[in-house]
């Protein structure tokens, strides 16, 4: 779309390192070599690569078969170092983040920031008092180097490489991402934010995020993503692993706004232990195809999981998003609220699974999916799956599909709204129950992104 505001890009000739196109053992060795990784990680990567080659492409979801894996650059390093001050970040890159508004947001309301550009995190900060309390917020590569034991205890344990083809791919070529550890009882008030930016055409970004929220601790992490508009595709395939221990609370918010040439195929999973609360808040705009089903494994009694997701599928886009809740213990509860909007020929699908393991009695799950279709070219589908091996449970599922109402449009227009403004208002109202869950700054951003999607679109 020409109205995508982050479609600009920087020159790449000054990059420190750029792998050749394509994927094989040599590329994987090279990445591991450059990062000076321990042998176990190199072996992990190589065996993951084998898994990736062996696994078939998923036959459901979106048109993933169009991805040409050999046309992608798997690793690019634009800057030599990870900087602690924006002044030290190379100028081109710094300007990009200025345009994205990150340094300013950091000053105002963030507890810490990571900025990833292509394959590597190029900037990182964390409030001093949090660091003193033992909070770790670093890029994943540094975590492997600096906190090897903690790292190895959890890495690849929540999402093993053989989980799915794209998790295997990420495990083979991962680079960057966030690593967070919140010690027992530490409550982080302001959000920690990471910002992922793809800059090159045919780039593959494979960040790997690992978050451990210890007993009774709480935190909120927010990620944003953008990329330039190119005529051929880029690939973003992240893996996010989260552990929330007994009594902990964690919220992971994504406001993804990829340009519409990006394949966004992400595996996100959290394990929630006794009496903890895990929440995914997932805003999916842009991309060519998104396949993302954040999941929560409710491991012990009293664990709660909640997923709120908004998907906006515009022209040429397919959002195949949803949620997965796995009740592994009795007295656990989950809630999914999904709102999707499709417009201009876009397609939004909700794909969700609620699974109750044997013996997980007294579980509660509530799923609500609402779809809003803005015109007759656009499409919405719902694929809810339920697998229950216990019957002393309460499962609810509601789904609704609505078209934007002529009466609503007329009412708003009769009060001086243009047609575009009126539709934007109806859409904003439709997602309001989710947007009001976001911190104010992100709510404003989300509404602005929706307005951009709606602009100049009608008539």
């Amino acid at each position: 779309m020409d109205d995508y505001q982050f479609g600009f890009h920087d020159p790449t000739d000054k990059y420190v390192f750029k792998s050749r196109r394509g994927l094989d053992r040599e590329i994987v060795y090279q990445i591991s070599e450059l990062k000076k990784e321990p042998k176990w990680m190199r072996d992990f990567r190589i065996s993951s690569l084998e898994t990736f080659f062996q696994k078939p492409m998923p036959s459901w979801g979106g048109a993933v078969e169009e991805i040409d894996f050999q046309n992608i650059f798997y690793y690019m390093k634009a800057a030599a170092n990870l900087e602690k001050s924006w002044e030290d970040v190379p100028e081109d890159i710094r300007k990009t983040y200025d345009r994205l508004g990150i340094p300013e947001a950091e000053k105002k309301y963030l507890a810490g920031v990571k900025a990833q550009y292509e394959s590597e995190v190029i900037y990182g900060s964390l409030q001093e008092d949090l660091a003193k309390q033992g909070v770790l917020f670093t890029d994943t590569d540094s975590a492997l180097r600096d906190h090897p034991d903690l790292f190895r205890e959890y890495f690849g344990k929540i999402i093993p490489p053989n989980d799915n083809k794209f998790a295997a791919l990420n495990s083979a070529v991962w680079s960057g991402g966030s690593f967070i550890y919140v010690p027992p009882g530490v409550k982080i008030e302001f959000p920690l934010q990471a910002y992922f930016r793809i800059n090159s055409e045919n780039m593959g970004q494979f960040e790997r995020t690992l978050i451990i929220v210890d007993e009774g601790a709480s935190a909120h992490y927010v990620e944003g993503c953008t990329a330039p508009t190119y005529s051929s595709e880029s690939l973003h395939s992240a893996v996010v692993e989260i552990v929330v221990k007994r009594g902990g609370r964690f919220r992971y918010t994504t406001i993804q706004n990829w340009s519409n040439n990006v394949y966004n195929l992400v595996t996100k999973r959290a394990m929630a232990y006794g009496d903890s609360l895990m929440e995914w808040v997932d805003g999916n705009l842009g991309s060519k195809l998104t396949m993302k089903y954040p999941s929560i494994y409710l491991m012990e009694p009293g664990a709660r999981g909640e997923t709120l997701s908004i998907a906006f599928a515009n022209h040429g886009q397919h959002q195949d998003a949803g949620a997965k809740m796995v009740h592994c213990a009795p007295n656990t509860s989950s809630r999914v609220v999904s709102k999707s909007i499709s417009k201009g020929g876009g397609r939004a699908s909700y794909r969700g699974l609620v699974k109750v393991e044997k013996g997980a009695t007294n579980c509660k799950s509530n799923v609500v999916c609402d779809a809003l279709i803005l015109d007759s070219k656009s499409r919405s589908d719902t694929y809810p799956y339920i697998e229950a091996e216990d019957d002393q449970i309460s499962l609810e599922h509601e789904a609704s599909v609505s078209k934007i109402g002529e009466e609503q449009l007329f009412y708003l227009m009769s009060r001086g709204m243009t047609e575009a403004e009126a539709s934007a208002m109806i859409v904003t109202g439709f997602i309001e129950p989710l947007v009001k869950e976001l911190p104010m700054e992100y709510a404003v951003e989300m509404n602005r992104l929706i307005e951009l999607q709606m602009e100049g679109s009608v008539g």
Partner: protein
Amino acid sequence: MSAILKISDLRVAVEGKPILKGVNLEIRQGEIHALMGPNGCGKSTLAYVVAGHPKYEITGGAIELDGVNVLELDPCQRARLGIFLAFQYPVTIPGVKVSDFLRHAVSNVRNPDRKEGEGLIPMKDFRKELKDRMSEIDIDSEFARRYLNDGFSGGEKKRMEILQLSLLRPRFAILDETDSGLDSDAVRAVSEGINKLHGPHMGVLIITHHERLLEFNKPSFTHVMLAGKIVETGDASLAHDLHANGYAAVRERHPAEAAEEQAVTVKA
């Protein structure tokens, strides 16, 4: 100079079925007109068509505001030109806060050249104005934060329409049964509201089945519609008479329209 809203020989069909069959009506700024008529005769249809509802097919005639061809404009442009319809059945817009909605509406109507995304009227001034208007028509200020008409009672919705009227200050307002479904205190509040707003700058068409609203806002003209035509026009006493004696006498005086009315009912 006062503007005129002029409706001439207006013919309207919906889904191929003729509803308005040649309506003539002229309203000047500052005048109050009452429009009465039995259920289904076409009053709301007229109101919707003036406001620009897309579902009606205009098969003949014209609507002009000070020489501007209103039929060529979309509802948004009509609103910005100074036309307002208080809906018989106001629409619910979930998730949209009353105050956000009103601020957009006011910004657009007061600044007709405003484009999407351009600045809104300043928050501070707007808040104050909104608060004042709300207290004038006895709406709790808490309603500003609620979602538009979502879960509102019938009477609350009607008050919300009058609130919009008072903020948008149109040149011509059509009130479609704004008094029905209101308790007597509310009718008084709404009537007083209209009375205050009405002045040399607003022409009003009050569609009603009751007399109360007209007691507070005495019409200079009362029109009676039968089967899609205005068959009689009189003064305030006509409204009173219709109220007391019903439409039997009107039907007797206009047998042709009464017959058409019959035909429609039988067909339906």
